[in-house]
Amino acid sequence: MRFLLFGAMALVASACSQQQPGRCDFTHTRDISFSELGTDRITVRSFGVSCDKAIGVYEIIDGEGLPVWAWAAPLQRAFGDVFTADNPEHMQAFLEEWSQPAISRTGMAPEWPELAPGQTTLNELTYADIRARDLPMLCHFSGTARQTCVFWEPVGGGAGHLFDRDVEETVE
């Protein structure tokens, strides 16, 4: 009877398992103020069969629960060989660090002539207009010593890519 009891419990418990062992599915969230419409939320997550093969996703959700920005990359390709299959704690620490963006204003973005080819996908007129309006700007890491900066557009109520930049800081 005892074997039957433990067997049944083990069987049912294993069927309920939500997380497959060895996978690299982690999430970290942080409340920030970016859109000027209240509290926004950043959710960063990793997913993959192991942490050396994981994808990272960076999401900004506004106060109404609507996603206004999402970015993704294979983490090892973006940040180098720092993610190993046998150290999921490192991934969790990385996500916590990653969820801390730099928030400023578009007026602090470089002027058009200072941009290198490929640094922005906007044309000169649009870029200069966004910069001149001094809108909220959020920069998150998108690679080693590399940040992606997005702006908040109050008219449309969404965020868009402004430019990418090299930075001296590195994500541990």
Binding site: P67, G118, G157
Partner: protein, 187 residues
């Protein structure tokens, strides 16, 4: 026997709590599609997924992995931005699971092309690729010399939707063997 039934009921009840936590994420959907791109004879897998409290609020991801499961490329956006542009207005119609599945299947079904035939020539003396093209507006991270060298090598190209009217096209860089975006284009 009564103890056995009670224990099973307890475990099942705990399982039910887990399930209800899971169902709070009301839009978790995924579609996969195979494409031969990074290596001949070893198909890559494209997985498109949606994740959000509702499908209208979903963040969607596009991930390409090679036959060994190594990630080659990832892209993320929101369902609404890819289908309508921007964020949903107040009172926007809900998005059903079936609508999301249709979108994810179409998104994963990338266009397969060759660079020489598909991409516009960047003519000598023209300042930008876009100025050299006729139908669409193009941007590329490369200068003319590198762009033309890659284009004329006639490489395999896969193109996926990256905005309502925007497309990104990827190649495997013959030098580094890494995937790179060759062009983004749209109206």
């Amino acid at each position: 026997m009564r103890i056995l039934l009670l224990a099973a009921a307890l475990v099942l009840s705990a399982c039910g709590q887990n399930a209800s936590t899971q169902s709070a994420n009301a839009c978790a959907r995924s579609v996969t599609h195979e494409v031969t791109w990074s290596a001949d004879g070893a198909p890559d897998t494209i997985a498109t997924t949606a994740d959000g409290p509702t499908c209208a609020q979903a963040v969607v991801t596009f991930v390409v992995r090679n036959a060994a499961g190594d990630p080659l490329w990832a892209f993320a956006s929101t369902y609404y931005d890819l289908t309508m542009g921007g964020v949903p207005p107040e009172g926007a119609a809900p998005v059903s699971g079936e609508q999301m599945d249709t979108f994810l299947a179409a998104w994963a079904n990338v266009t397969e092309e060759r660079t020489a035939a598909f991409l516009p020539e960047w003519r000598e003396g023209v300042a930008t690729l876009s100025a050299s093209a006729q139908t669409f507006s193009y941007s590329t991270p490369f200068d003319r010399e590198i762009y033309e060298r890659l284009r004329t090598q006639d490489l395999k190209l896969i193109c996926y939707q990256a905005a309502v009217e925007g497309t990104h096209c990827l190649i495997i860089d013959p030098a580094s063997h890494a995937p790179i975006m060759m062009v983004a284009y749209g109206p």
